[in-house]
Structures are given as C-alpha cells and as structure tokens.
Amino acid sequence: MLEANKNWIHRHTTNARICHWIMVISFFYLLYSGIMIFLHFPELYWGKVGFQDYPAIFKLEDWGISWERAEELGDRRWGRNYHYTFAWVFVLNGLIYLIWNGWQKKFYRKMLPTRQELSIPHLKSEVKRHAKFRAAKGSAAAKYNVLQKLTYLIVLFVLFPFMIISGFAQMPAFTAISPELIDLFGGRQTARTLHVVCSLLLVLFVVVHLVQMVVAGALNQLRGMIIGKYKITQESNEVAQ
C-alpha cells in the first residue's frame, strides 16, 4: 500500500488529534450559542453600562435586522445553557491538551519558531508564498511554517485566554470575586463588546485555517488530523529523507 514508505509521516500525535476535534465541536457550539444569546440583545456598548436606548456602538438594526426580528431568530435560554456547557468542555479540553503536551520537548520544537524562521528574509519569503496560495513541499511540509506557528501561538495563548477572561468579566459573580478584572476591561459592557470582537477574530482564523487546508490538500490534511498519517509530496530536486 504505502509504496515508498518514506513519503509518509506521522503528522499529528494522538492527543493533538483528539483535542483538536473536541475543540472543533465545542467551538462550533460556543459560536452558535453565542450568536443565539447575542440575538436577544443585538446591540453593543462601551463602558460599564448599556441597555436599550442607551448610546450603542453597534446596532444590528443598522444592518437590516430589526430588534424584533433578531429576537425571533435568537434563543438565549438554549444559548446560555449550551454556552456554559461547551465553555467547560472547551476549557477542560484545553487544559488536558496543555498538560498532555506541555512537558514534552517536541511540543516546543513543533510550536516555537526558530531564530532563523523569524529572520526578515525568511518571513518575507513565507508571506510571498502564502500570498500566492502555494503549499509547502517536501521536508518543509512535514512541519509547521513560521506563519502557521505564530498564528497557532496567538490563537492558543492570546485569543483563547482572552475569550475566557472577557467571559468572566461579564458574570455577576465576578463583581464579588474580582471586580478588578471588570475594571481592567473598563467595564462590563466593554468586556462584552471585546468578547464579540475576539470571537470574530477566531471566526476569521477558522476561515483562513480552512482555506489553507484546501491549498495544502484537504484530503491529506484531514487524514493527517484524523488518523495521523500524512503524505509528503517530494520536490523533484529534493531527495527523500
């Protein structure tokens, strides 16, 4: 079957694959339930206070969906129940992922860019390659490229924690547990607005992630993330390792 066995590599570890798909499911539910909650109050405000008729910085009404229509589309009871349920799935899954991988040296080798990769010429050539939608080939395809590494690091260690913390800052219990956290955001409504903005950044990430998957070969990538096997396409001038 695997003629030229050397062309196949083990792309993703078992734990990365399991955690990835649990994250996909919980991300989908978090996004969907978040939208359901938002539709029942389709305005965003800045500062501590915000309510209907208070100056808003975003109104869904301005985008052609009236308050009444949004209310019909949303379902905050379902939304709240599922939002918290999958927030727990998401957080516990993330912790398992970090603990499972955090003590392994190869995790850092896989995720952290090298000094050479961070050099301006290398970054330039990688941006150019991405702009042309050309996938990496040969041995370069066996590991994450520098833009990929940086993106994953930002998503894992900036955007995900930001979602969690800005979620905490909206909870009434946190007016007792840590009012400092709410003040840090500049108020509860600012935390809510930034929670939405950050979720849009995550959606943008997912879109780019899917486009990149198609560029690099959807079947091969999916197989890599499901069973772990990943086929390397050799460049003609490169010798198989």
Partner: protein, 260 residues
C-alpha cells in the same frame, strides 16, 4: 484552622466557615450538618452534560466566593439615569392593584415556614429595621447592565425578626405579585448585600422596578432579583413549588444559579 490570607477583608465582611455557622446560629441554633458542598449544587440537577456544567459553574464560583466578599460598590456619580424597566412592570393582579391604590399601606410581608416565630411585616416595620444602602451594578442575563443605589433591610435581619430559621431549613422561597416566584439557598441569604430593597436612588422604589419591595441578590443575574415581593417561606425542599426546580426561571429552563 483559618489560613492567613494576603488580602484580608475587613472583619465585618469576612465570612469564614466558622462565622457562617455562627451566623446560622444567630438564625436560631442551626448546625451545619453535612458539609459545605450543599452550596455547590442547585436543588435539582438537570442531568446530562448541562447538569454537569451547572454544578461545575456553581461550585467553582461559590468556592471563589466562600469568604462572602462584597460585590463592588460604585460611586453615586455613576448611577444610571433611566434605569431600564424590564419584564413585569405593573402586575396584572387585583390584590396588587388594590395595595398600589392604597400606597401600599396595607401591604404585608408574611414570613412563614421553617422559622421559629412566623411574622407579618408592614412596609413601615421593614423601614424601621436596620438598613443598608448600596450602589451596585445590575447585570441582566440578556446582556444589559446598569447602576443604581438600593436601600433596604438585610434579608438576614428579616429572618432574625421571625425568630431565626429552624435547623432543617435549606431554601427560602419568595413569591411575587404577578405569579413569579424564586428560590435561594442560605449562602445568598447570609450575604450582607442581600437586602429587601424598598428604596432606589434615594427615593421609594418606583413601580416599574418592583414597588413596594424587591430583592437584591447582588451576585446573580437580573432574573434572580425578584420584584413586587408578596411573601417569604423558609423550606427544607423546593418540592411543591411550580415544577419543582426551585424557581420560575429554572422552571422555564434557565440555570437555577445565576452567577454566570
């Protein structure tokens, strides 16, 4: 043994397990049987993944609030003009309309159930009791928030006026005009900022905000801040009220615990 904490709260506001017991003691010689985990879960578990998440949310937040810290109090300059009137604004209830027409002079708050000395308080009685004024943020589960100043009698003092609670008491059920009712556990009852509010922003509580008396349980979403209060019952179980989930909101499918 109590640990020395880095950020020791003022004595009055710290509520360690021992003090919690003594507060219950003040309520009528109750012993905390079992363990504190009774405060970690809602009266009825919904089951499934949602039920697990409910308990995780409630337990983790209650653990972080075990000192019974106060919620943030805002400066009066931050009070919101035009505080929203949400949900029920004038109960369609004959008795309530009669009381309203009489400026609530005939309004009575019966405190019954597992108390040592059931009583019925008038608005004047309530106003003569020790009171507390707090400027806090109201957070609605739908997404909005607004700041107001509330004045009222601590729920704990009101229960003490009824002779304290009996040992088997676990929840208090509050009925409101217009058919709403909601249940609370003792963790919220003993919190210093849990008050039966009759004043808002220095005036009598306006109709739309729940006149003559509403509840403030500051660590919860708006749906636990019951308006138009009618009666208080102290109970050992939430069975027999509505669908038996411990409140009208949880009957509707919301989480009984509204701290998140």
């Amino acid at each position: 043994m109590s640990k020395i904490r880095k950020h020791e709260k003022p004595e009055e506001f710290t509520l360690t397990r021992r003090k919690l017991i003594s507060r219950f003691g003040a309520l009528g010689g109750i012993l905390l049987t079992g363990c504190d985990t009774q405060f970690y879960k809602p009266p009825i578990n919904r089951g499934g993944l949602i039920g697990i998440a409910d308990t995780l949310t409630m337990a983790s937040q209650r653990m972080l609030m075990s000192n019974q810290q106060l919620v943030q109090e805002h400066d009066v300059s931050e009070i919101t003009e035009n505080f929203p009137v949400w949900n029920q604004s004038d109960p369609d209830d004959e008795e309530f309309q009669r009381l309203k027409a009489g400026n609530y002079v005939d309004w009575r708050l019966p405190i019954t159930g597992l108390v040592n000395n059931p009583i019925s308080l008038s608005l004047e009685d309530l106003k003569r009791m020790p009171n507390r004024t707090q400027t806090t943020m109201h957070i609605c589960e739908q997404g909005w928030s607004a700041i107001a100043q509330w004045t009222g009698a601590p729920l704990l003092s009101v229960l003490q006026a009824a002779g304290g609670i009996k040992p088997e008491a676990k929840y208090i059920m509050i009925d409101a005009y217009g058919g709403w009712y909601e249940g609370y556990d003792m963790f919220d009852v003993v919190h210093p900022q849990t008050i039966l509010a009759y004043g808002m922003n220095g005036k009598d509580l306006p109709l739309g905000n729940g006149a003559p008396v509403r509840l403030r349980v500051e660590r919860h979403c708006g749906y636990k801040q019951l308006k138009f209060i009618k009666s208080i019952q102290v109970v050992s179980s939430v069975e027999g009220f509505g669908r038996g989930t411990g409140g009208l909101n949880s009957d509707f499918g919301f989480h009984w615990y509204a701290g998140a």
